[in-house]
């Protein structure tokens, strides 16, 4: 009997999709495999490749086998193809095919649309590993280093997940797309990654935490809506990826939170009441709250751009075709077709930002972005609770969605973080208070000193409240290879 819960190791590629009896796909993946390993080996610095990292690996897709923790050398991590169990009798949850049985094969008329969605999703996965490749060298603790590597190996696995779909369901051009995923490279001149936000290097750990909080959250929202797909293999793949993605959200939220906490601790300890007494605060080796706010402004707005245009016929087509649903589609109580509904979106008319009603079908992107903003606000509220606990008079805020945008109706127009249109002079005067400057970057960079003693943390970040897998505070999360 085919075992669809436990991971099978009878091929080189761990999987729960019966790969050993699917010779064509197995052969194609085995051909792709060495290229992947080369990509990984060239990317991550060698002494980390040899180090033992306390990682979790899934040995099955049911809750029990989902997180097995052990020391692993990253190149020996069991990347594999894991799909959530098939739901008996699942139907297409949205669009004009609503209620029909979910597709187990690619429907011909939507082949190209589907392939494009999978390739875009797949392209972001290796991109983020490329962006973060040098962060291990400046990890503020072994705990954080382990979290970074966990994120990295799981992004690698997400690439596998998408590549499997391409190989299994899209024939020859699917294989070519899969090869191209390894050819493009973040920040490359000739062959950059597909989305802008994935071509910027992640220069420091605060950026990494902000990236995992804000940009990976866009990934989470995309996965959520692909998990609602009428194409069942895509839905099952994304559902399993979401359980892994939650770890990335965790790294981001607690990383920023611990940075804020350490700043507040130091302010309290030295009796600093004014959060804008930046020089004094920085002199104690922590990052002042206004600078953290600036990083937040940057990463939040870059991530908003990833949702595309406010009004989009592509998004409408994908929804209508049942290829991509809305966030928590199954919990939304409407007709799931949106033929007559409207949705409020931002527009720019007569030099002013205005809100207006448009057909809901064309506003799918906006709806997802609004869900994203609500989701992102949760962590910001939590960060403010930390600040409040220390009695510091400061509040983190998500900037208005018109601020610093490159895509959509606000693109290239000058707004301040409150959402007021400003003149060029006003913008120039304010921007150093709104977005991180090169000098801020220099300062943050100066704090990026590696800390590799178990249980020790760099000056600018507090230890976590709970260890990974309930491990004690001085647990050696990475056994560094000393060459």
């Amino acid at each position: 009997m085919l075992d669809l819960i436990n991971v099978s190791y009878d091929t080189q590629i761990p999987n729960n999709v019966g790969l050993s009896s699917d010779k064509r796909v197995l052969k194609a993946l085995e051909k792709w495999h060495p290229g992947y390993i080369n990509w990984w080996s060239d990317l991550i610095p060698q002494n980390f490749q040899q180090s033992l990292v306390y990682l979790r690996t899934a040995v099955s897709v049911d809750p029990k086998g989902w997180a097995k923790f052990d020391y692993v050398k990253m190149p020996e991590y069991r990347w594999g193809v894991l799909l959530a169990p098939q739901v008996e009798g699942r139907t297409i949850p949205c669009g004009e095919h609503f209620g029909e049985p979910a597709w187990q094969e690619v429907p011909g008329e939507y082949r190209n649309l589907l392939k494009r969605l999978i390739v875009i999703q797949g392209d972001t996965e290796p991109a983020s590993v490329e962006q973060q490749r040098f962060l291990g060298l400046t990890a503020p603790s072994l705990y954080d280093m382990r979290n970074l590597f966990q994120v990295n190996v799981e992004e690698g696995r997400h690439l596998w997940a998408m590549v499997y779909l391409l190989h299994k369901y899209f024939g020859r051009d699917g294989r070519e797309e899969a090869d191209d995923l390894l050819l493009r490279s973040s920040g490359s001149e000739e062959a950059p990654r597909m989305l802008g936000a994935f071509n910027e290097e992640t220069p420091d750990w605060l950026s990494f935490f902000m990236f995992t909080y804000f940009t990976d959250r866009d990934g989470k929202m995309q996965l959520e809506s692909l998990a609602q797909s009428g194409f069942d293999p895509l839905s099952r793949t994304c559902r399993f990826m979401l359980t892994e993605e939650a770890h990335h959200m965790f790294v981001g939220e607690t990383g920023v939170g611990r940075t804020i906490q350490k700043t507040c601790e130091v302010m309290q300890e030295h009796g600093i009441e004014d959060p804008y007494d930046i020089e004094k605060i920085r002199s104690f080796g922590v990052i002042d709250l206004p600078t953290i706010q600036k990083k937040l402004n940057l990463h939040y707005t870059l991530s908003l751009d990833l949702f595309g245009q406010e009004v989009s016929t592509n998004a409408a087509n994908a929804f209508n075709a049942g290829i991509k649903g809305r966030y928590m589609e199954h919990r939304i109580k409407d007709d799931h077709m949106l033929q007559a509904d409207t949705y409020t979106v931002w527009d720019f008319e007569d030099g002013k930002a205005v809100q207006k009603e448009v057909p809901a079908l064309t506003a799918i992107n906006m709806r997802l972005r609004d869900d994203y903003t609500r989701d992102a606000q949760g962590g910001v509220t939590r960060w403010n609770k930390i600040i409040e606990k220390y009695g510091v008079a400061f509040e983190m805020k998500l900037p208005h969605e018109s601020f610093n945008r490159k895509i959509g109706v606000f693109a290239e127009k000058l707004f301040n973080p409150e959402g007021q249109l400003v003149s060029g002079a006003e913008y120039d005067a304010g921007v150093t208070e709104w977005l991180p400057t090169h000098a801020d970057g220099d300062f943050i960079q100066s704090l990026m000193k590696p800390c590799t003693e178990p249980g020790q943390y760099a000056s600018w970040i507090a230890p976590p409240k709970v260890g990974i897998d309930n491990k004690p505070g001085d647990f050696e999360y990475v056994k560094l290879h000393m060459a």
Binding site: M1, D3, I5, N6, V59, D62, P63, K64, G65, W66, A67, K68, D70, L242, T243, A246, H247, M249, F250, E253, T254, D375, G378, G379, R382, K385, K465, V466, G467, I468, D469, N470
Partner: protein, 398 residues
């Protein structure tokens, strides 16, 4: 007075509201508002599915309460309330709780998670007593003996420790655990939390009708408590809590058959089971089969005494993974080569399975049981759930 009950809660300061637990929960006991993710005490059936999927560790929180916290109360929390002092009588066993204090309950819940659902005691098991002694009121025992079980020069140091309770009542059943409080304080100046050890002696004492218990303890590199215990000398005083555990217990029914799978010090409860049977049924058929793995004979605890137990009482499969000149063999490998015997036991509704040892053994053993069960046309997941529901499947790993 209401019986106290154990309530599953989520620490709002650590939770990041990813809702993975909510999506995973098979009975929809978890929900959220804009503020917190919370567990409905009326719905939660302790299946533990939400524990491993949580990326933060915030989900592994338990409180013993007389009145469960309502959803509304939990939505309002900024932080988790501390465990309140709960008045308890001696016989809390009926509540189905493994332990009344938070830390011990969490440890046991984690140890038993490998069973894949809420653990249940065998139908005919005696009613256990739990939490007679706790951190604020520990029992003090005297060390009667400390014997090395593994050969000098073996790569592990496993000890057989005998503790005398003197005149103190300490009713402990085979399969239960006791807590040992290491002396001293942690970095924050608080007393160390007790570490749990399974008793390896039967209920009537290491020596019949002496009020003593034995433990089987392996010295862990840099292990605070295990080094303390392994270095104990005759006459030393030790502070104990417990007993704990209300499910990993021996059926009293003499017809019940036992399939015991263990490694290393996971043999402790198996020793207690075997001795209890031996003392109650004598040399008659005990219906017990054991698969016991160690690296080598000289690092297998109780190797000598075990070999003297007659096969009719206990059929032994001692399996070694590091014997020079031999292929590595693990318990699951031997189970495969003894497939027929295992299959026959799996098919028998009188069979009780016990798995105890390092967490790493779970995966291989479970996979082998899956294959063997399927070879007799029984999907393992369903069989396991049935056995567990009937109190016939028990896992304790660490």
């Amino acid at each position: 007075m209401n019986k106290p009950l154990k309530q599953h809660l989520i620490d709002p300061e650590i939770c990041i509201r990813c809702y993975t637990c909510e999506m995973t929960c098979p009975v929809e006991a978890i929900e959220h508002d804009d503020n917190n993710v919370v567990v409905d005490a009326e719905k939660c059936n302790f299946c533990m599915d939400c524990i491993p999927v949580c990326p933060t560790g915030s989900i592994d929180e338990w409180r013993v309460v007389n009145e469960p916290y309502s959803l509304e109360a939990q939505f309002d929390w900024d932080e988790l309330p501390a465990q309140e002092e709960i008045e308890t009588a001696g016989g809390e066993a009926e509540t189905g709780l493994e332990a009344l204090d938070d830390a011990m309950a969490a440890l046991l819940a984690e140890a038993h998670a490998g069973a894949g659902g809420k653990a249940k005691a065998p139908a005919s098991a005696s009613k256990p007593t739990i939490n007679m002694y706790n951190l604020s009121k520990p029992a003090v025992a005297t060390v009667q003996g400390n014997y090395r079980l593994t050969a000098e020069g073996a790569d592990t140091d496993v000890r057989h420790i005998i503790l005398d309770l003197g005149g103190l009542p300490f009713p402990v059943l085979e399969g239960q655990s006791v807590g040992i409080i290491p002396p001293g304080q942690d970095a924050e100046g608080k007393p160390h939390l007790p570490r749990l050890y399974s008793v390896s002696s039967p209920r009537d004492g290491e020596r019949p009708n002496f009020n003593n218990v034995s433990l089987t303890v392996k010295r862990e590199d840099r292990g605070l408590c295990s080094n303390y215990v392994c270095d104990l000398k005759k006459g030393d005083k030790v502070r104990l809590t417990g007993p704990f555990g209300a499910t990993f217990l021996l059926p009293d029914d003499p017809q019940a058959r036992l399939l015991m799978i263990c490694t290393g010090t996971g043999s402790a409860p198996m020793r207690a089971f075997t001795m209890r049977r031996q003392r109650t049924v004598g040399a008659k058929s005990g219906g017990m089969v054991m698969f016991f793995g160690a690296r080598s004979p000289d690092s297998l605890p109780y190797f000598g005494p075990l070999n003297k137990v007659p096969d009719a009482l206990l059929k032994k499969h001692l399996v070694f993974s590091r014997v020079p000149g031999q292929d590595k063999e693990y318990v699951q490998d031997r189970m495969v080569s003894e497939e027929e015997e295992v299959a026959e036991m799996l098919a028998d509704p009188n069979t009780h399975i016990y798995i105890c040892g390092l967490r790493g053994m779970e995966e291989g053993v479970e996979k082998t049981l899956t294959n063997i069960a399927e070879s007799i046309g029984q999907p393992w997941g369903a069989l396991r759930d049935t056995m567990r529901g009937e109190g016939r499947y028990h896992v304790e790993t660490y």
